[in-house]
Subunit: 374 residues, 2 copies
DNA sequence: TACGAGCCTGACAACGTTGTCCAGGCTCTA
DNA sequence: TAGAGCCTGGACAACGTTGTCAGGCTCGTA
């Protein structure tokens, strides 16, 4: 009430933040140095207060709050009244400390704002909810250090389990945590140097089928634009591309492949280069949704029709002209499968780590069926 | 090690789950009745263990872990060694209990999978991260009860603050929490029956401008398809529509307005009805991204060109033919503004609740500039 | 040599909850 | 009427951490 000066000062509670991003993490305004030990949750009432007010013992309040048997209706009424009057709400931090389970799981993904991860995290959330757990999530921004910070911060909070979409490629730092009982499932990309559950799409097969599809429609000069090759999915999709080309006996020119960050500028440049020159590609296979969107823009300005198949479905793809043919993966199924596996592991049912691969689906809409414009 | 039978049993830790959804919440497999008190975090080492192994006192370990001064380099080395050897990681649950702050904030929104909320939650997360806090989030699925469950579960975890996108329209249940010190900011829609910070877009003005735009291009029979009127944003946008029509002296026929759930089937039917009949609309204003997408699909099958302006921007809107004219709101800015305000409140800087309205932006791309096809 | 200052270190209580265990009062039956 | 058994309620310790405080050590100085 009176301490309106209470300042938010979780300086030392805060999760560690790598500075390498160059991005200031602690705004000046929160950099207070004095510690304010008195900053309690606004002095919320505790069970003790409720007990005192109701004139009962501490444990009785606990029983009422948790719906345990063995309390007279009359006593229960008194306790409920006191709870009401004081605005008591059980402190789950204390509860968790005592019980040893937090009923929460962590989800670390690349970017919550990416339309691919929305359905995925929603699916994880639904499964968590069905198991009575809350979801804590964070974005790694494709930065291995940030992934590790987040994961370890979550472990420190003692989440019961973790669903991780790896940004880094070495997860040995998780070994002690897993050994200590944190159920962990990796999704979308495999974990590095560690034996754990993995749920991925069939990136290799999907890409191969997509490229085969282009070949079947008469294309031979097919470009590939993908994400950085250190990202496993990108590498796998490239491998699918190469296999399809090889199987068809088509030698691949270096200039047909472009891997790197998926920022629009680079992708645009890469696409333009493939489309110009003495032997331009007649079709492009794009390695993920972001790349596809940029390439669609490039093709829209291009005079000659160019065939396109993209990895990942994109909204409104069917309404473009031509519709965009894609290799779709089921983001929600990835999340659901991973989360379900995680809870089975928490049940103790599940013991040996496994790799689960979900199939992809080729959706033809027109852009992949354009003939080569030679 | 030996207790491979440990089963996930947060039965009573779980957040309350309303049953009205008809959707089974507790899978058979987790319905164990015996309690397993021994289920500790896989018996993780504690500071006590570290202290014992390093041959120092408990508090010294605490000092080392927290980087507090007053420890000999030699002692520190011994402690670090013990930490390493045991795989110790501080238990933040205990820490939180002791310190009174959790360094985490809750975000309750409608649906994580909705492309509108992705950027919003990412923005909230970034701000939280800059303040050293983690983000716990949940989807209310537009269900007032579920919103309340989630919010109260978060309060029980003693999140330091809450960002809430209201599903319900009565938030008095939050009063004791706010009084107890949980900083709360509502986003996207106002809170009901409670005095709190609110960050919204200018739904009314945006819709009015969008409809004005259609009127300026010669339309008079303009349809409006929106979300359920009990959702504040939907009501405001409808108000904007009505004002624009009124200002232009155009009487609105009841059959031009359709409000209700945004599931594709209903929206499709509504659009088709407006487009048929003796006096079909020549333009449609859509009340949110989901509606817009569905209506685009309907219009694509329609022979006569129909003008369209939609509330909310959608990806690839510029690549359709014609490009889709929209009233865009800045989801990231909504999230950022709300989160920043929340942390200012936690700093104690901020005292009186305020309503902040962010402007919208009309983006013309073609569909809104079509002339009436009479 | 003695003594205070200053530095390290650790014992202890507290945070709010739950599990264990026991006491007292009641009912029921022989 | 006594004893057995059940029901209700409460005292207490423990969960793992941090703040407080006091004790012991070293060092420099009188």
């Amino acid at each position: 009430m009176l301490d309106a000066t209470s300042s938010y000062n979780p300086m030392d509670l805060r999760i560690p933040v790598a500075d390498r991003t160059g991005h200031r993490t602690v705004p000046e305004t929160t950099r207070r140095t004095e510690s304010l030990p008195g900053t309690r949750y606004g002095n919320r009432p505790t069970m003790k207060d409720v007990a005192a007010r109701a004139g009962v013992g501490l444990k009785t309040v606990s029983r009422v709050v948790n719906g345990e048997p063995g309390v007279t209706p009359e006593t229960e009424r008194r306790v409920q009244e006191a709870i009401e009057a004081l605005g008591f709400r059980r402190n789950d931090s204390a509860r968790v400390l005592r019980k040893g389970r937090t009923a929460s799981i962590g989800l670390v993904l690349e970017d919550l704002a990416d339309p691919f991860y929305g359905p995925l995290s929603r699916a994880v959330e639904e499964v968590a909810r069905a198991h009575g757990a809350l979801l804590i999530n964070g974005s790694s921004a494709e930065d291995a250090d940030r992934e590790q910070e987040l994961v370890l911060a979550l472990c420190a909070r003692r989440v019961d389990g973790l669903v991780v979409i790896p940004a880094g490629d070495d997860h040995r730092y998780l070994e002690p945590e897993i050994k200590a009982g944190v159920a962990t499932v990796f999704v979308d990309r495999p974990a590095g140097h560690i034996d754990a559950d993995i749920v991925v799409s069939d990136n290799y097969g999907g890409a191969r089928d997509g490229v085969k599809h282009l070949i079947a429609h008469g294309h031979r000069r097919i470009g590939f634009i993908g994400d950085m090759p250190r990202i496993h999915t990108a590498a796998e999709r490239l491998r699918g591309y190469r296999t399809a080309m090889e199987d068809a006996g088509i030698p691949v020119a270096d200039s047909w492949m472009s891997l790197g960050v998926t920022d629009p500028e680079r992708v645009r440049r890469a696409a333009r280069e493939m489309l110009s020159g003495p032997e331009p590609v007649t079709a492009i296979f794009t390695g993920n949704n972001r790349v596809t969107v940029t390439v669609i823009r490039v093709l829209a300005e291009h005079t000659r029709p160019v065939a396109l198949v993209g990895f990942d479905d994109i909204e409104l793809a069917d309404l473009l002209n031509p519709g965009v043919t894609v290799v779709a993966q089921d983001a929600a199924a990835l999340g659901r499968t991973a989360a379900e596996r995680l809870f089975r592991r928490l049940d103790g049912t599940l013991l040996t780590p496994e790799r689960i691969e979900l199939p992809t689906r080729l959706i033809t809409r027109g852009s992949g069926e354009l003939p080569p414009a030679d």
